[in-house]
């Protein structure tokens, strides 16, 4: 069971639409209000990055599952991808305190802490793909 839905992000309307999609899906999966807000905030930050640095890209959401002690565990995966300028030094952007958009705790390390799993792939000139998953507890 793998349903994927994508929202195009090229302006702030796109950011809101991606947030909306994330909130509905997380509610549907059964996340509590705090986790819903965390997932939505992660989507918000990732789509703002797309909007600010790549101009356009997309946020895709999918329901994922993995086996666990109590049967099957459900989760929500965010895939944020763009064909923008990419990140030349990934290690640098994954360090706390490094943020070009200002604000404490934000940036990619902040997103990583909001979610349970986080992977990033980026190549200068090619674009960036970030996958972040939150599992239902």
């Amino acid at each position: 069971m793998k349903t994927q839905s994508c929202v195009e992000v090229k302006n702030e309307w796109g950011i809101v639409a991606a947030r909306q999609a994330g909130r509905s899906l997380s509610k549907e999966i059964g996340f509590g209000s705090v986790d819903q807000a965390r997932i939505t905030t992660a989507i918000s930050e990732l789509s703002r990055n797309i909007y600010l640095y790549a101009k356009r890209g997309e946020i895709c959401l999918e329901v994922v599952e993995k086996p666990s002690k109590i049967g099957v565990k459900k989760g929500l995966r965010i895939i944020a991808q763009d064909q923008g300028p990419g990140i030349p030094d990934i290690r640098q952007v994954m360090v706390d305190g490094f943020t070009t958009s200002g604000g404490m705790g934000a940036g990619l390390p902040g997103v990583k802490r909001l979610m349970d799993e986080f992977t990033i792939d980026s190549e200068a000139g090619e674009g960036t793909v970030i996958k972040a998953t939150k599992w239902l507890r």
Binding site: V34, D96, G105
Partner: protein, 337 residues
């Protein structure tokens, strides 16, 4: 973890109920104490708001929908604080990690300093070296040779903290591997200068004073490389004099030459080596002057060399509220017989 969060929810419910019932300062005090428990359990702001919302719903089943909705908005606003809070936690963990690394390095650095003061029959030697932070840029060293001579060195690596400390190990190993020129301070500095010049960064240099005390003739030969002057004390005239040696700091120029000086030391005389952390002790917004340091040494001169350096350090540290601005090293050598 889940269990504790549940407990916290119950506790919060209790505190809120009591407060709404009594509206007393005591209730507010409990809430303030409770916030410490929340921090201890690393509960972030948005979590507490969600708890608050649930408790309200439970206590007041008929509560207006708009009130609950407004808490959803508040929760969203607090997300930023939550992220900042978690960043703070992760930075704090990182800081603890770095501090323990520096602690290990500082302990290693201490092992570079001589473990004991050499015993030379006619000399009483005292030394104290206190870093301003964890790592020190000050260094001292003794070399005792077979001819009853003792070499003493004091060095200040310009720059503080970790880079200075790394540099210190180079000085130590360079001195350990020097050939038998121990009695010739100028040659020793020239040798060290070559090592330092080739191995350190252009913007780093080292000042040093090196002296060799010949306990057969009681002559003290010394040379300096841009180091803070020390003092001689001549008991015969009960007078302090500056112990100055002209010379450029180590690491500045490849072919630096150093002048050698020599003084005869009589019974009761003192040789004082110090780092600029001593003379640049700050009292309020002024530096202490050298006369004041002489005064302090005089006050304690009747004690053993080790007691003198410790007492002078204590006095100067006290004047600065025990917050040193620079690494502090003071060494006193007294001819006893």
């Amino acid at each position: 973890m889940k269990e504790t969060v549940q407990n916290l929810e119950e506790t919060y419910k209790h505190i809120l109920k009591m407060f709404l019932h009594q509206k007393s300062e005591h209730g507010l005090y409990e809430a303030q104490q409770f916030s410490k428990v929340l921090l201890e359990h690393q509960v972030s702001p948005e979590e507490l708001i969600s708890v608050h919302r649930e408790v309200l719903e439970e206590l007041f089943p008929t509560i207006a929908e708009e009130v609950l909705d407004s808490l959803d908005l508040l929760l969203e606003v607090m997300m930023g604080y939550g992220m900042a809070y978690r960043e703070h936690q992760s930075l704090r963990d990182r800081q603890l990690e770095l501090e323990s690394e520096i602690e290990v390095a500082a302990n290693m650095q201490q092992t570079l300093l001589p473990k004991e003061i050499p015993s030379i029959g006619s000399l009483d030697i005292g030394v104290i070296s206190v870093p301003a932070a964890k790592m020190s840029g000050d260094y001292y060293h003794y070399i005792k040779d077979d001819n009853q001579s003792v070499g003493v060195a004091i060095a200040d690596i310009i720059g503080k903290g970790v880079p200075a400390a790394l540099c210190m190990s180079m000085i130590k190993y360079a001195m350990d591997s020097l050939p038998e020129q121990r009695l010739q301070p100028a040659a020793l500095l020239e040798n060290l200068n070559r090592v330092v010049e080739q191995n350190i960064d252009d913007n780093m240099f080292i000042t040093m004073m090196y002296g060799s005390y010949d306990s057969r003739t009681h002559e003290f030969h010394y040379s300096g490389a841009g180091h803070e002057p020390g003092f001689f004390y001549f008991a015969k005239h009960d007078q302090f004099e500056e112990l100055f040696a002209k010379g450029i700091a180590l690491g500045v120029s490849r072919d630096a030459k150093f002048r050698e000086y020599s003084r005869k030391i009589e019974t009761g005389d003192l040789i004082v080596f110090l780092s600029d952390g001593v003379t640049e002790s700050r009292i309020g917004d002024r530096f202490i002057d050298r006369e004041e340091i002489i005064g302090l040494i005089r006050n304690y001169m009747h004690l053993s060399a080790q007691e003198v350096v410790e007492s002078v350090y204590y006095e100067l540290a006290k004047l600065q509220d025990f917050q040193l601005k620079d690494d502090f090293t003071l060494m006193i050598i007294r001819r006893e017989v």
